[in-house]
Amino acid sequence: MSQSVAEIGPITVTDVSGQKSYRVEKMPSDATVDEIVARLLAPMQQPTMDPEGRPLAYAVRSEREDRYLGANERLGDALQPDDTLRLMPTVDAGRG
């Protein structure tokens, strides 16, 4: 017997500045925060690697809860419809 997974959404996901903003629907509630980052970087056209080919780290901030979400938190536990999440990368400027 199959059991359907509940869906979460719609939510809004933005970049740091809020100037790239995406409405996301139909995410499975059992997906993790890490998974949402991995799934959304491509359609948001955000880089995934630094110049040395290392993965770029993105923290995810919930505007409603005013906190960073843990990588393993389930969307069904962490999100409510119409939430806004902000993807915040750690990036290096410099001589390299």
Binding site: D15, S17, K20, V24, M27, L40, M88, R95
Partner: protein
């Protein structure tokens, strides 16, 4: 997102012309798409929902197909005068670099070897267009970005009395910043001594009351908090961006993040003898691969700019501080000019 009937390859040759190999590349079309869309914004030309960018190779007349001299990206409405951008070969430099790294791993190229590259475009075999970016299964992802324009101002009036600095290119839209920001940048750089330091530029994108042109007004430099600073590296953390957003909210002026600033403390990097300092390459302004990566990750809108305060050797000895501004032009990051307004 970009629609292409071609796949692209980087063909690498050694400095002596001998072939190294060709590798498939996946161009990052976003900056080019941004260039075209910003061109439409500057003309006040509406873009229909779901409009895609089309990319077409411009063949190399000498080498012939499949080699290209540039790639033309246009908005997919095919109307006469539709915004378009001609992407230079240098647009594909990061992908060529990645291809070179593959050849280094395969032992076909040595680390540090000089190589040349050409870009080739091959028709997709099934004649179906490739859409850039990934599909998201059952998820629905739709862009709902807000307009970046704060309102209307008389640009001529705003620029009156300002002085132009940096390299000018008539294709660039005007950027205006107060002299106080340059002074603040110099103070922050001096206080950081041998370490890099930085901040975020905030301001407004205005539409001219007299026409469609846009102007970026930088109103403040917010010093970056929660960074990790070293002599040759400055790490911006999620907490850095949070603090800037908090500052913008506290100011309550509807400003947006419009770029970033950081320092290059070259006088501490340079280990030359005093006479050789005058021609030290570290004394020239530059925007490094890391700097470009920050710009691409956080400041990827076509109107975003970057300000760098570095050191320039003086002919009479010692060092002077120097500012350089960078911005997007046809999808690549180039040095650009800016206007400085004297502040009371």
């Amino acid at each position: 997102m970009t629609e292409s009937r071609y796949r692209f390859l980087a063909a690498l040759t050694a400095d002596d012309g001998s072939p190294i190999g060709a590798a498939a590349i996946a161009p990052d079309w976003f900056p080019a798409e941004e260039a075209v869309r910003f061109q439409a914004l500057r003309c006040n030309r509406p873009i229909g929902a779901g409009t895609r960018e089309l990319c077409e190779p411009v063949w190399d007349g000498q080498a012939g197909e499949p080699y290209v001299v540039s790639v033309r990206l246009s908005l997919g409405d095919d109307a006469a005068g539709a915004p378009a951008a001609l992407l230079p070969i240098t647009y594909f430099a990061p992908q060529a670099q990645a291809a070179a790294a593959q050849f280094v791993q395969q032992g076909k190229l040595r680390e540090g070897d000089v190589f040349r590259y050409r870009i080739a475009a091959l028709p997709l075999p099934d004649e179906s267009a490739a859409i850039g970016g990934a599909r998201e299964g059952d998820w629905i992802v739709e862009e709902v970005s807000p307009s970046p324009i704060s309102g209307e101002r008389r640009i001529a009036e705003m620029l009156a009395g300002s002085r132009h600095a940096g390299q000018s290119d008539e294709a660039d839209f005007p950027v205006l910043l107060p002299a106080s920001i340059l002074a603040q940048a110099e103070e922050l750089k001096t206080a950081a001594n041998e370490n890099e330091t930085g901040g975020v530029l905030i301001g407004h994108l205005w539409r001219d009351t007299e026409g469609p042109e846009l102007l970026l007004e930088v109103t403040a430099l917010v010093p970056a908090l929660h960074t990790i600073a070293q002599s040759t590296r400055l790490t911006f953390t999620p907490q850095t961006w949070d603090a800037v957003r908090g500052t913008i909210a506290l100011r309550g002026r509807g400003e947006i993040m419009c770029g970033y600033w950081h320092s290059h403390p070259s006088r501490y990097w340079c280990k030359c003898e005093p006479e050789a300092q005058k021609s030290c390459p570290l004394g020239r302004q530059f925007f490094s691969a890391d700097d470009r990566a920050v710009h691409r990750a956080v400041f990827s809108r076509a109107f975003h700019v970057a300000l760098v305060t570095g050191d320039r050797p003086r002919q009479e000895g010692g060092w002077a501080m120097e500012h350089a501004c960078y911005g997007w032009r046809c999808g690549t990051i180039e040095a650009r000019g800016y206007h400085v307004a004297d502040t009371a």
